[in-house]
Symmetry: C2
Subunit: 470 residues, 2 copies
């Protein structure tokens, strides 16, 4: 009996252990799977990791090879540290840290040596006090400067390095006799470390923060255009089946969320991009700040698309004949909105001013006007019990439908949100046009990409129609 | 003549120099003014700067005082570095960095010594290779791990320190004979530095990330409530003069923007808060992640308020009599929404479950229903040309007004956005109630704060009325 019990408890412990190990393994396996997926989807991140390895190996060479080792001295450790701390994913971030580190070290080093000289002149008794007070004051002041937004954006790391170097020099200065030699060593190793970092980061598959920001902005714009068009199309065409079955489609509808949530990454990229030298189509003084304005305008617009997408899913259904009446107008408006956005995407992609944007915006505004006019024409159909003279609606009005106002509410909401979206898209257009002016985009030429040309032809036709109607 | 010319050019240079200096001074003056304002508005930031100074002075003591100096050795420099790098504004951030630094150093140090031992056994020829390959591999792997979101949130700094220490140990191991002594020194100085940081940060006016997050969330909720109520009130009451003259009021209307834009700070604070020990009313395992959900629900709601505030400013004006008809209902709804939000604020502030929230939500939903019913009742007034039997509207209907549908659009939009906002507020309520369950808020007692009691009485009255009506 006791044996059985023991056997049972052993068995219980064993099975519990087994399940514990299994859950641990499966957890680890899932983690590895996730990591693998991340690596496979963004191979540049894997390359970055290898670049860090290469940079560290290069720095280690200075330690292992005797002639170089003697040249740089025992402080080659600082070079290793510089590489580890300074090497970042984008070139801009690496340059930001390198320049901040070098400047901070140089400024704090010279100040520290000055303070040390003054302290050493004042006798052994007062030396610690005279050396200590500036550490307290400067460290406090530099820490405070890191709270000021304009300094935080550009010199946060530099301020930290300033505090670090100043404290090290003035504290160590009391002991280390060879202060100048130490300073010289520190500077030379930092130059060594930063130059290895900059070379590795700029020469092997460079990732430019500016380029990333440029891509991020116009990709988000594309997603916003797709989701806006998809939302409206689904509302007027969808029978509810598309939404659940097609995973890609529902993902597309959520595209506006990318624009809504990328504020932080836009800001950090814009901060890093301004440190980058000219690369690809971008000059050194490319107006990166303007991208933030475009991003803000897009967020503004996405907010409205978000409200639209949830109002569209409301419970109150529009009567079928109204839906039919307005579906064309609404879908035309959303198509025009999306066309404007996509033209802006082309403008940014090719970095050429577009000659069709203004026309497309006019068309968009004309569709807004058309929708409003259609709404204005509505009361005749809804109130008069004897039908209007309008031929197209005979079959609906002959049924003598009196639509209660409540059933118009979702339609009215959709239309006024669409109008608001159109107005906000004009904000995006303005921001992109400002960018085109500031960055001196090439003016549109005749040998433009075919797509734009085709848009041009099509819109010309439509405008003619519009003008004839007016 | 030449003299005159020279005199003129000297004068020109002088005046240009003068204006240059003046602009430089005024720029600096403005900068200082801005810094002063920042310091005056957030005195805790100034205190933080002084704390950094104190911590650095404490560490310097170890250098200046001989007995201590001999104890820690020449590597006390590492202690200074630890203090500068690790000391952050909030306790959570400081703890995060301290624990990451200590763990990373310990792990990498032991691994490095192991690798060094293996390398030293393999003969002088292979030593650099056997020591170098792990540096490359581990640095790449650790760098990659920093891209994985779950690791980035918790161990980003630790991974960097791991790379740093491992490279230093295995590179320096080749030269420095006293490797164990170096490791011991490094660990003891880091312990010294981190303990000084932790003590200073926790004992002198501590700033808890968790507390800050808690405050941020409920303050944003308060602002959201105010701006929602203000928006609607301004639309229905305002004659346009309030908007331009009263600066405070227009600031209040923009309150929803705080909730919209604080995603990044919420996330970083929640990340830091989980490192903090129990403080004030918060336990060690306080559900900080739930705050992110509340924040997301609030952003969701703010998005709708944003659309509402711009739709309200549209050009189309609602006819006066409709405005009068609906102003009461809309304002009642917005007041109820704001009341629900403010009850949630009280719940979070006092950390007690509220007994009135459910009632308030019911009231809010009832106002939504009332508004919808009022809309449903509309067609009778608008379509019939002979007036309805409704007494209250006799004076308007007697004028035989036929309101075109287009003029109902802003009202319809306002109402459907308000309903959507009410629905999203329910999302916030759910999130806060989940928090109350997870964090085990005290249940509401009889001796609740007066404000809540007063709300209770008032709502009871209203509910009775509502029930009588139904």
């Amino acid at each position: 009996m006791a044996n059985e019990k023991e056997c049972g408890s052993v068995h219980g412990v064993y099975s519990r252990l087994q399940s514990l190990i299994a859950s641990f393994l499966s957890k680890n396996w899932r983690f590895l799977e996730k990591a693998w997926k991340l690596g496979a989807s963004e191979p540049r991140k894997v390359i970055h990791c290898l670049k860090v390895g290469v940079a560290l190996s290069l720095v280690s060479l200075f330690y292992y090879m005797r002639p170089l080792y003697d040249g740089v001295g025992g402080t080659a450790m600082w070079a290793v540290m510089t590489v580890v701390v300074v090497f970042e994913y984008t070139v801009g971030a690496t340059l930001y840290k390198c320049i901040n580190r070098a400047t901070g070290t140089f400024l704090a080093g010279s100040l520290g040596i000055g303070v040390h000289w003054v302290a050493s002149q004042s006798g052994e008794k007062f030396e610690p006090i005279i050396a200590g007070i500036p550490v307290f004051l400067l460290a406090s002041a530099a820490t405070f400067s890191r709270f000021i937004p304009s300094i935080k954006a550009r010199f946060d790391y530099g301020a930290m390095i300033f505090i670090l170097t100043f404290s090290l020099v003035s504290v160590a200065g009391y002991r280390v006799e060879k202060l100048f030699e130490m300073a010289h060593n520190r500077v030379s190793t930092i130059v060594l470390g930063t130059s290895i970092c900059i070379c590795t980061s700029m020469l092997i598959c460079p990732v430019w923060a500016g380029n990333e920001l440029h891509l991020l902005i116009y990709r988000n714009m594309e997603k916003l255009a797709d989701s806006l068009e998809g939302c409206v199309a689904e509302y007027f065409n969808g029978d509810g089946t598309v939404k659940t079955s097609d995973d890609d489609f529902s993902k597309k509808l959520q595209g506006y969320k990318f624009a809504l949530n990328s504020k932080a990454s836009e800001e950090s990229m814009a901060n890093f991009a301004r440190w980058e030298p000219a690369h690809g189509p971008f000059n050194f003084r490319h107006p990166w700040k303007q991208y933030l304005k475009i991003g803000a305008a897009m967020r503004n617009c996405s907010c409205c698309v978000e409200s639209l997408s949830s109002c569209i899913n409301s419970e109150i259904q529009i009567p079928e004949f109204l839906k039919k009446n307005f579906s064309e107008g609404c879908m035309r408006l959303s198509a025009h909105c999306s066309k404007v956005l996509k033209e802006l995407v082309v403008t940014m992609k090719t970095m050429t001013k577009s000659s069709t944007t203004d026309l497309l915006v006019e068309e968009m505004n004309f569709s807004v006007q058309e929708l409003q006019n259609a709404l204005k024409a509505l009361p005749n159909q809804l109130i008069s019990p004897h039908g209007s003279a309008n031929d197209a609606k005979v079959e609906t009005t002959s049924k003598q439908v009196i639509v209660p106002v409540i059933e118009i509410v979702p339609l009215a909401t959709t239309i006024s949100l669409l109008s608001e979206i159109a107005a906000r898209i004009e904000g995006i257009v303005d921001a992109v046009e400002d960018l085109a002016d500031l960055a001196e985009f090439k003016p549109a030429t005749d040998n433009k990409p075919e797509q734009s040309q085709c848009v041009m032809d099509k819109t010309d036709d439509e405008t003619m129609k519009v003008l004839q109607k007016v």
